[in-house]
């Protein structure tokens, strides 16, 4: 009981301390979701192009006006098309992409447990060898 209370207190402390990121960090977060349309393979956050600088300014202005991150992203998708996104949205074929790593890891781990999980008969002391 006391442990549960302690855990709850720690959790509350964490949530209180979590806080919200400042504007600079929010601009960066949005800008790194967008691809710079004029340069090859760089996000708006990382790009050194003029256009990307303007896009960052627009992001800053819109976030400062109180728009949400999603709304700003939607604004850019409406203007430049979905290819402006730095990663496909998790829908349609993009869902395969987003789920694949988790499926690979879970599938692989599941296979290992299924295949080798049963203890084979072995006679010896319970502790294994420490040495390599």
């Amino acid at each position: 009981m006391r442990a549960a209370l302690l855990a709850a207190a720690v959790a509350a402390l964490c949530t209180a301390a979590w806080g919200s990121p400042d504007l600079d960090q929010r601009v960066r977060a949005v800008a790194s979701q967008l691809m710079c349309p004029v340069c090859e393979g760089r996000t708006v956050a990382d790009s050194t192009s003029e256009l990307a600088a303007q896009m960052r300014a627009v992001i800053r202005q819109r976030l400062a006006q109180g728009e949400s991150e999603e709304a700003v992203l939607r604004y850019f998708v409406d203007r430049y098309g979905p290819s402006v996104l730095a990663s496909p949205q998790p829908a349609g074929p993009g869902l395969v992409l987003w789920l694949a790593p988790a499926l690979l890891a879970a599938g692989g781990a599941g296979y290992v447990v299924y295949r080798f999980g049963r203890r084979s008969p072995w006679t010896g002391s319970e502790d294994g060898e420490e040495d390599s």
Binding site: V10, L13, C14, A17, W18, G19, D24, Q25, R28, S32, Q33, M35, E40, G41, R42, T43, A45, D46, S47, T48, A53, R56, G81, P82, S83, L85, A86, S87, P88, P93, L97, W98, A100, P101, L104, A105, G108, A109, V112, V113, R115, F116, G117, R119, S120, W122, T123, G124, S125, E126, D127, G128, E129, E130, D131, S132
Partner: protein
């Protein structure tokens, strides 16, 4: 000289084609004469390629502008170092350099193993020669020795971004890693064909695999270091398709290096290791295919050409032939299971393989996804940092945690008593998680630091155990540690690599989660602040180098009482039509101040982008530690009875017990111990 080069390329192609045919025939029929003839032809091909490389380097160094390659990649103003490195500055030259490296590595591998593993080495020689023949064929297609109808007075010069020490080292390191992977691959194929699947090929090629892994890893780190110092976008890793193409084989090789240990210890797992080696080599070839044919949109667009179809054919042949071989020998490969119990070090290695391969698979999928969408008629899409961060974060944390678990678990089987070993590492993890939750507030960071602390605790425990064994044997704590490294360089060197990885992990977490960035436009004399630093802009200053116009800004950086000066520059290369913003970086263990001169007006007003990148130095430092650890694992292992007993804490095994009497006793004890172990198995 250039005529000699052009002829030598064709001769080298013929030589390695003959070497492949002769080696395969000799290996199949068992005629030693054919085998030797094949080996000699491989040596001849290596010699001819050496002549080609020498000819091209000579042309580059002497600025022989009759050659198209020299004109495109050097100029009168190019310094000597970069005239030499122009050899790998563009497609044709880098393919030649690559082929030459492959030839040298192939000769070294064959001559090293021809006596110890004669049956394997004949087949391996054939596989290596065939691979080499393919790359030399590409060189022939690319024509590095193509001449111009007239010699211009000056060349265009190397891409200015490539004139950097980082770019001198980065490509050769990566190439060496890629090329080296063909040695384990060739021996794996040889083992499959000859049905010598007893694992001797793993032992024969372990050092090659470790050396390739080191070279690839060093290449990746140097590439990041170059990008960070040169490209001026504030980061060192952009998840660019070409970076990914080098990362994937490195991840697969990491998996292989771990599972190879299981095979060496237990003699199981042969099929799996073969598949991993084949996969590592295939992804390396696929990666160089993506890089060199410009199929994927990338910042590395300076190496593109029309060799795509050949390359695709080669990738297909490698994949199909290798996996057909594995399938053909499948019945022979199914041995005993790699582990008695999943809760053991072998079990942890299995999960290590799952995680590393999932990581590699996800990175590969993300890199190829845009191609797949376009091939099926979809729109142009990107898969960039958001996706890769979402993948690398959780998998990285899981790998770090697993690293700790693996070190704590014993081989074979863990009883309940093993739980005791977990107490301090778990305590460290909880403490770190709590502190991170209170002060740093990000779930990802909390998880990362907890995993790092746990793994750190586990490794310190292992080092502590070695030190204590030294104390018990009367040799002292430090000597005990040293003994451990000397007796088992692979094991403790590996732990040192892990420690380096932990430092890198802290650096990556810090520099990704806590970047601060500001863009400001200021007039001379004005000040601005980023984080805890104050900046005063002192004005611009114009200059020129032989090839570029330079504008240098003066930024005074103030922190409390200390003052430093940062001078970011903007270089305009007229001949290339290229503008390069070189950042000024002030690096400390806490954070890097990274300032870029972005733009300027005639009245002296300037726009800066300033980043505060925490803990970046930890990434470089950790990588150095990991590299050092890797070198230790390559150190020859002493397997004499004395060292074994010294580690086991056996008093008779101390230094000075060279005399026959004690030595014999030690050997008897060792024999008894070995016999006991075999009984148990």
């Amino acid at each position: 000289m250039t005529g000699v080069g052009a002829v030598s390329v064709v001769a080298a192609l013929l030589a390695c084609a003959y070497a492949a045919v002769a080696s395969f025939h000799g290996a199949r029929s068992g005629h030693g004469r054919w085998v030797e003839s094949g080996e000699r032809a491989l040596w001849a091909a290596a010699a001819l390629l050496t002549v080609c490389v020498a000819a091209l380097v000579h042309a580059l160094v002497t600025r022989d502008f009759r050659l198209a390659y020299v004109v495109r990649n050097t100029s009168l103003a190019t310094p000597l170092l970069y005239r030499v490195s122009a050899l790998w500055g563009a497609q044709a030259g880098s393919l030649l350099f690559w082929s030459w490296l492959l030839a040298v590595v192939a000769c070294a591998a064959v001559s090293r193993h021809r006596l110890t593993h004669p049956h394997l080495s004949a087949w391996a020689c054939g596989v290596l020669s065939a691979t080499l023949a393919f790359f030399v064929f590409l060189v022939v297609v690319e024509k590095p020795f193509q001449t111009l109808p007239f010699a211009p007075a000056d060349g265009r010069g190397l891409n200015p971004l490539l004139e950097d020490p980082g770019m001198v080292a980065h490509p050769p390191l990566l190439y060496l890693g890629f090329v080296g992977l063909s040695v384990p691959y060739a021996f794996a194929v040889a083992a499959l064909v000859t049905r010598r699947l007893d694992g001797s090929w793993v032992a024969a090629t372990r050092r090659w695999a470790v050396a390739c892994w080191l070279s690839l890893g060093a290449g990746l780190v140097v590439g990041g270091w170059w990008a960070y110092r040169t490209l001026g976008w504030g980061g060192y890793w952009g998840w660019d398709p070409v970076e990914n193409a080098a990362l994937v084989p490195w991840l697969v090789t990491t998996a292989y290096l771990h599972s190879a240990v299981v095979e060496e210890r237990r003699g199981a797992f042969a099929a799996w290791n073969l598949a991993l080696v084949v996969l590592a080599f295939s992804t390396a070839v696929l990666g160089s295919f993506l890089t060199r044919t410009g199929l994927v949109v990338s910042v590395h667009s300076f190496a593109r050409s029309e060799i795509g179809p050949y390359f695709l054919g080669f990738v297909a042949v490698v994949l199909l032939a290798s996996f057909a071989l594995v399938a053909w020998r499948w019945e022979d490969l199914r041995g005993k299971p790699p582990t008695d119990d999943l809760v053991s070090r072998e079990g942890a290695f299995l999960f290590n393989n799952v995680l590393f391969l999932s990581f590699a698979g996800a990175v590969l999928l993300g890199t190829l996804y845009p191609l797949a969408v376009q091939a099926t008629g979809g729109p142009q899409v990107f898969v960039g940092p958001p996706y890769f961060h979402a993948v690398a974060g959780p998998l990285g944390v899981a790998l770090l945690a697993l690293m700790g678990v693996a070190v704590l678990l014993p081989w074979r089987r863990a009883g309940a008593a093993v739980l005791v070993r977990f107490r301090y590492p778990v305590f460290a993890a909880l403490l770190a998680a709590l502190a991170a939750a209170v002060f740093l507030r990000r779930p990802g960071v909390v998880a990362g630091l907890a995993a790092v602390s746990f793994a750190l605790g586990a490794h310190l425990r292992a080092f502590h155990a070695a030190g204590r064994a030294g104390t018990r044997a009367g040799r002292g704590y430090l000597r005990g540690l040293l003994d451990a490294f000397r007796a088992q360089p692979r094991r403790y060197g590996g732990y040192l690599v892990h420690l380096g990885v932990l430092v890198v992990a802290v650096g990556i977490v810090g520099s990704h989660a806590y970047v601060r960035e500001r863009e400001v436009t200021v007039r001379p004399g004005e000040a601005f602040a980023v984080g805890r630093y104050a900046f005063v802009y002192g004005g611009l200053e114009a200059g020129a180098t032989p090839r570029a116009d330079v504008v240098r800004a003066r930024l005074e950086l103030r922190l409390e009482d200390s003052v430093a000066v940062l001078q970011p520059v903007r270089l305009v290369y007229p001949r290339w039509g290229q503008v390069v913003s070189r950042p000024a970086i002030r690096s400390t263990w806490r954070e890097d101040v990274y300032a870029v001169l972005w733009a300027f007006q005639p009245d002296g007003a300037a726009t800066f982008r300033v980043w505060l990148n925490p803990l970046v130095r930890w990434v470089w430092a950790g990588a150095l530690v990991a590299g050092l650890g890797t070198l230790l694992t390559l150190w020859p292992q002493r397997t004499g009875p004395r060292m074994f007993l010294a580690v086991a804490g056996w008093p008779g095994a101390q230094a000075g017990s060279r005399d026959g009497h004690r030595g014999r006793a030690a050997r008897q004890v060792l024999r008894a111990l070995r016999a006991g172990r075999e009984d148990r198995a």
